[in-house]
């Protein structure tokens, strides 16, 4: 390896990319778009705190009043606590059950569609015996509102069952317990209450890492193909070994990625963060605490993952002359990267389990999943070290293989090669690089 030449290649890749208008547009636009997205999300979630018009058809005849009362109490308690999951303000109206329940439901359905009411609730004794209640609304994915309704009815129904069995009403109320689960993250440095913002920050970084694998991996592929279609590659390899060209390109583009992160973090610190913070604090989630160690892990696993995928993308690009030809094989790293994202909810649920361990050591998902694990739990040091070793080892093997294909592939023009042909290339004898007898001054 001649590092002087490698750095000359890396420098060109870096300077030419950072100079483009497209780079700066992407670099400045993405945080703005992202901030906009978060702002919209938060304002939507706050809207659920608005009023809900609900019609209740109580066929039992004894649940409506307690429900109104129960929901009012819940709201009062939440206000007092300043809880993060603040539900809507319920405004209930009772409608006497009609003889034809189906017709009544249909009429209510129309009212919902005409937006006169937000929804309606049917309380039927037969269904309640099976612990069921029917709730109709245009939005049934409104988690907070639904769980409030569910637990309120549940409590009332339980209370009434107990009094029906002869328990005094006040005793029934006393027996009823509501548990508020407070989550604390246990780390070696102590315990801290986790309000969700830390996890959101980790997820944001995870998505960022995931999308930059794509972006920069794809750029490595495009750059390699471009050199071939430009027919410049042979001029370059007359001065630079193919390996040096490959490594220089990967380093240069990786550095572009780091620059983009750096600008993003500057933008975040100076522009978005204050705005972000005011939005978050008003939504009661609290400020995200992003520990320095998390950012350190982010850099580490971004670089390891990037080098791994960049090698894969180089391997894919080298045999082909156009993006279209490479497209088919480009599916492979894409599926692998998406795979890492696809398994993350499972890992979130049990970050110390077997599945989490497997995917954090499987080389193609390791960078994303191990980063996530360091964010939501504290994996043992040996696992982190093993993960880094696996990533480095796999990257070295891939880079070696990619280098061999690259060496042959970049000089191949014309017919699109088949996969067996590409594998055969790797077996061609490599170019030997002899050390200079005298060190050049």
């Amino acid at each position: 390896m001649n590092w002087k030449k490698t750095f000359a290649v890396a420098r060109r890749e870096y300077v030419e990319r950072v100079r483009t208008r497209a780079f700066w547009i992407a670099t400045l636009l993405i945080p703005i778009l992202f901030l906009g997205y978060v702002a919209v999300q938060i304002s939507i979630s706050r809207k659920t705190g608005g009023e809900r018009q609900l019609v209740v058809v109580d066929l039992t005849g004894k649940l409506y009043q307690p429900l109104v009362q129960e929901l009012a109490e819940t709201e009062a308690k939440q206000k007092e606590k300043g809880s993060s999951s603040r539900g809507p303000h319920w405004s209930l109206t009772q409608q006497a059950p009609a003889a034809d329940l189906a017709a009544q439901k249909e009429a209510l359905r129309k009212e919902v569609l005409q937006k006169k009411i937000n929804g309606y609730l049917i309380l039927e004794p037969a269904k309640l015996d099976k612990d069921e209640v029917e709730y109709y609304s245009t939005t049934v994915s409104d988690y907070i509102a639904q769980s409030q309704l569910q637990s309120a009815i549940g409590r009332i129904w339980m209370r009434q069952k107990m009094t029906a069995r002869g328990l005094p009403a006040d005793l029934a109320r006393e027996l009823e317990t509501r548990i508020d689960l407070k989550a604390f993250k246990v780390t070696e440095k102590g315990t801290a209450e986790e309000k969700g913002a830390g996890i959101i920050a980790a997820l944001v970084l995870l998505i960022l890492m995931y999308s930059t694998f794509f972006m920069y991996g794809y750029q490595v592929m495009r750059g390699t193909i471009e050199e071939k279609s430009n027919r410049i590659v042979e001029i370059i390899v007359a001065s630079v070994r193919p390996t040096e060209l490959m490594v220089g390109k990967i380093l240069g583009i990786g550095l572009v990625g780091l620059t983009q992160y750096f600008v993003w973090s500057l933008v975040a610190a100076n522009l978005s963060l204050p705005a972000f913070a005011s939005l978050l604090s008003s939504s009661d989630m609290g400020m995200p605490r992003v520990p320095v160690s998390l950012l350190g892990y982010f850099m580490l696993f971004f670089l390891l993952g990037y080098f791994l995928y960049a090698s894969v993308y180089t391997m894919i690009a080298a045999p082909f002359n156009t993006d279209q030809e490479a497209q088919q094989l480009a599916m492979i790293p894409m599926v692998l990267i998406v795979g890492g994202i696809a398994v993350y909810p499972g890992v979130m649920n049990n970050p110390t389990g077997g599945m989490a361990l497997f995917f954090s050591l499987f080389p193609f998902t390791a960078s994303l999943i191990m980063f996530l694990r360091t964010a939501v739990s504290e994996p043992p040091v040996w696992q982190i070290l093993l993960c880094v070793a696996i990533l480095l080892g796999t990257t070295a093997a891939l880079a070696w293989f990619a280098g061999r294909i690259y060496r042959v592939g970049i000089l191949m023009y014309g017919k699109k090669p088949t996969i067996p042909e590409i594998i055969r290339w790797a077996r061609y004898s490599p170019g030997k690089v002899t050390q200079p007898a005298v060190k050049p001054s």
């Binding site: 030449k5 000359a8 420098r11 030419e16 001029i235 370059i236 004898s429 690089v433």
Partner: protein, 307 residues
């Protein structure tokens, strides 16, 4: 040390296809060396092996007395047949980049690039993107890239392809000047007329093998001994009927006669004079093409006709 490049028993196969078969050749220092042959003869593979872009399967390659290493690589200028540039780069940045990968220092590069920009009349395009340049100007930039590190050896693969006559002349002048400074040029082409005008040493390749090597003068002398041009009042059949004639063809009212090897020229003349009136008689200087075709035939290699 009077050998610039020497190859000994070099072979290279791509799968079952033998691209270069047991090639041995030596390029003397200071020569204008022509590596000639039709497309697919193995010229480009040979050059790529010299440049250490592709590795030989067997055999030995020495450049300026050493195997190729980083230092020798920086002493060679190579203009490949497949050549292009980064289209989005500015001309000046591109030239600096190409100098940097030859490890030319920034100051040295500035001086040389400055010099060449004037020689090539490219200065007005300094800050333009390569994209905006004409094909001819792009080729000038590629040429500057080949020589910006002032190499001792120039290897040019089809350097004139796609050039207009003015630029061909310009390039040729540079090559001649380069050579006068004692540098070696390896000139690789399938266009034999170009090689004939420029080269003083040649190696002919066909079907992956060397079929002829030597100095142009020597080769011409060797082949001309058997080649005569006569102007005679006889038919082609008559000429063919003369003793010692291996081949004869009509050319502009004269005949070009090839004698069988070892045939006595005086004997042939005497017999011709006995039968016909001879208006003119001369020894014909063979065209490179004729030498080539003859060599291919005698090597027993059937080959495509050269363009």
């Amino acid at each position: 040390m009077d050998t610039a490049i020497s190859l000994t028993g070099v072979s290279k196969a791509f799968g079952k296809f033998r691209a270069v078969d047991n090639l041995t050749l030596s390029v003397p220092r200071g020569a204008m060396f022509g590596l000639l042959g039709p497309n697919g003869a193995g010229k480009t593979t040979t050059i790529r092996m010299i440049m250490n872009i592709t590795a030989p399967d067997s055999g030995d390659i020495q450049i300026l007395g050493h195997p190729m290493d980083r230092r020798t690589q920086n002493r060679i200028g190579y203009l490949p047949e497949e050549r292009g540039l980064y289209r989005k780069m500015k001309v000046i940045d591109h030239l600096y980049f190409l100098a940097a990968i030859k490890e030319v220092g920034r100051d040295e590069a500035r001086r040389r690039i400055d010099d060449w920009l004037d020689k090539m009349e490219l200065r007005p395009w300094l800050n333009k993107k390569v994209d905006e340049l004409s094909k001819g100007m792009q080729q000038k930039i590629q040429f500057i890239a080949t020589i910006v590190h002032d190499p001792d050896i120039l290897i040019l693969d089809e350097p004139f392809s796609g050039l207009d006559p003015i630029n061909v002349a310009l390039m040729r002048d540079f090559f001649v000047e380069f050579r006068q400074r004692g540098k070696t040029i390896v000139f690789c082409t399938h266009v034999l007329e170009q090689a004939e005008k420029l080269c003083d040493e040649i190696c002919l390749m066909a079907r992956s093998r060397k079929i002829l090597e030597g100095s142009m003068k020597e080769l011409k002398r060797r082949y001309s001994q058997d080649l005569l041009r006569i102007s005679v009042d006889a038919s082609l059949a008559d000429v063919q009927g003369l003793p010692g004639v291996a081949s004869a063809k009509a050319l502009n009212g004269t005949f070009v006669v090839g004698l069988t090897p070892g045939a006595d020229r005086r004997e042939f003349l005497r017999r011709a004079l006995e039968r016909y009136r001879i208006d003119a008689f001369s020894q014909k200087e063979p065209e490179l093409e004729e030498i080539y075709i003859d060599a291919v035939k005698s090597a027993g290699i059937e080959d495509r006709v050269i363009e």
